[in-house]
């Protein structure tokens, strides 16, 4: 339980840094052409990612870290 408390605190610190970073840069819309490309997207291949998550969570003892949860099945 203590380790999970540390995980929660680490998550809060993580986010604190993230929120602090917000104030550092403003990229204007006309400067975001490159960021709109598929190879720069985090969620461009959500279907492929779901298939991979399904495979990895049936082979490894970890889960999560993808920004959402997958559903259950006998393979888990």
């Amino acid at each position: 339980m203590r380790d999970l408390t540390r995980l929660v605190l680490a998550g809060v610190m993580f986010f604190g840094v993230g929120l602090a970073v917000q104030g550092c840069t403003t990229v204007r819309p006309y400067e975001r052409e490159i960021l709109a490309q598929q190879i720069m997207q985090f969620d461009a291949n959500s279907e492929e990612a779901a298939l991979e998550r399904h495979f990895l969570e049936t082979r490894e003892g970890s889960s999560g870290g993808h920004g959402g949860a997958g559903g259950g099945c006998a393979c888990n």
Partner: protein, 369 residues
């Protein structure tokens, strides 16, 4: 194999017909083949349709079929006659389905989602001969800082019913999942994402067919009924002027079964021509074992397991993916509707220090309108 081929062909033909009805949307079809060194193979065709119903309402539906073939049981963990190996998949063993023969079963999965104005809801349903899985998810996201920042949060509730074949027993499992994610534009060529996941799982989390030799007797596997899990992750995408991009990912995971892991992912995208994109990929994974995992059980303990997912090991995955844009092939004529589509092919190899190896193949067609 033949019925599966018929299903895949039917899905493709339906997809082609359905794609004619949509504009400004996406229809995709992919199929995976997976084989490993313990005799398990999986064929997984997946079809997904994403459509804008109105200016503000999007609809998504995904269907996935898993045809799983599980090899013969090679050995039971912690038995005197153990050779190696632990069946990684869920399969019954009885007179009709002896351990010496392969076992095949189908899993059907449907995901339906609606999204509007930064809020999204979805429902997951999975059914197979001995397991029903369901999940409801609600998520929301909002842009800040002139759309340079985005915060997203989601909550999922899953409820599963497990009916082991050959028994009158029903087990249940409930899961609560929370996620918080921040995405931040760092400069015109660099974007980052950090996030945290928490989940609590309550209920049956053992394999109902797997047994363990403890103190000279055979017992069914017995895992704790509760599990609290957490993960922190960081992602960075960086673009280079040579039309290449590097994606870096790191995840730290820990739960109250004492499983702790580190995962690092690297993707390298390179565009060879306006129509050809190749992605190289490497992933490293390392985990510790669960507090109740043992290679053998000289005495009977409260918790017993023969699940290799709970032992200490590390794993590597590497592979590549090719995407080919079909616009030049179907500019005019009967199949011009395919001019905005992309063909994909992927191969990956997975191997771990606990002697598990697997090959993953995937091909797909994505139609954008």
């Amino acid at each position: 194999m033949k019925p599966t081929l018929v299903k895949i062909t039917t899905c493709f033909l339906l997809l082609s017909m359905v794609s004619l009805l949509f504009s400004g949307d996406k229809v995709s079809f992919r199929t995976n083949w997976f084989t490993d060194n313990i005799g398990t193979s999986v064929q997984s065709p997946v079809m997904e349709i994403a459509k804008a119903i109105t200016n503000k309402l999007d609809f998504l539906i995904r269907y996935n079929l898993d045809r799983v073939t599980i090899g013969p049981v090679r050995g039971l963990a912690a038995t005197p006659s153990l050779v190696d190996g632990i069946t990684g998949a869920s399969r019954p063993v009885d007179e009709g389905q002896p351990a010496s023969e392969s076992y095949t079963k189908d899993r059907n999965e449907v995901n339906i989602g609606l999204a509007t104005s930064g809020v999204r809801g979805s429902y997951y349903f999975s059914t197979e001969s001995d397991y029903i899985g369901r999940m409801l998810t609600l998520s929301a996201n909002r842009d800040f800082n002139q759309k340079n920042s985005n915060i997203a949060a989601s909550y999922s509730f899953g409820w599963d019913d497990i009916h082991p074949l050959g028994t009158d027993t029903t087990h249940t499992k409930r899961a609560h999942n929370f996620n918080l994610t921040l995405t931040q534009v760092l400069n015109p060529k660099l974007i980052g994402r950090i996030g945290v996941d928490f989940s609590y799982v309550d209920g049956f989390q053992s394999n109902p067919y797997r047994t363990v030799n403890a103190g000279g007797q055979i017992f069914l596997e017995n895992h704790p009924l509760g599990r609290t899990r957490g993960a922190l992750f960081l992602k960075l995408n960086r673009y280079f002027s040579t039309q290449t991009a590097l994606n870096l990912e790191y995840r730290f995971y820990r739960d109250d079964w004492d499983v702790q892991s580190h995962t690092a992912n690297v993707y390298y995208h390179q565009r060879f021509s306006p129509n050809v994109l190749i992605r190289y990929r490497y992933r490293y994974y390392r985990q510790s074992d669960a507090f109740f995992f043992q290679d053998s059980y000289p005495t009977v303990l409260k918790y017993l397991t023969s699940d290799y997912k709970l032992e200490e090991f590390d794993a590597h995955l590497f592979g590549f993916k090719v995407e080919y844009n079909l616009r030049d092939l179907f500019k005019e004529g009967t199949f011009s509707f395919m001019s905005s589509s992309t063909f994909e092919a992927k191969y990956e190899r997975y191997f771990s220090s606990n002697n598990f190896t697997a090959d993953i193949f995937q091909i797909g067609l994505v139609f954008n309108y």
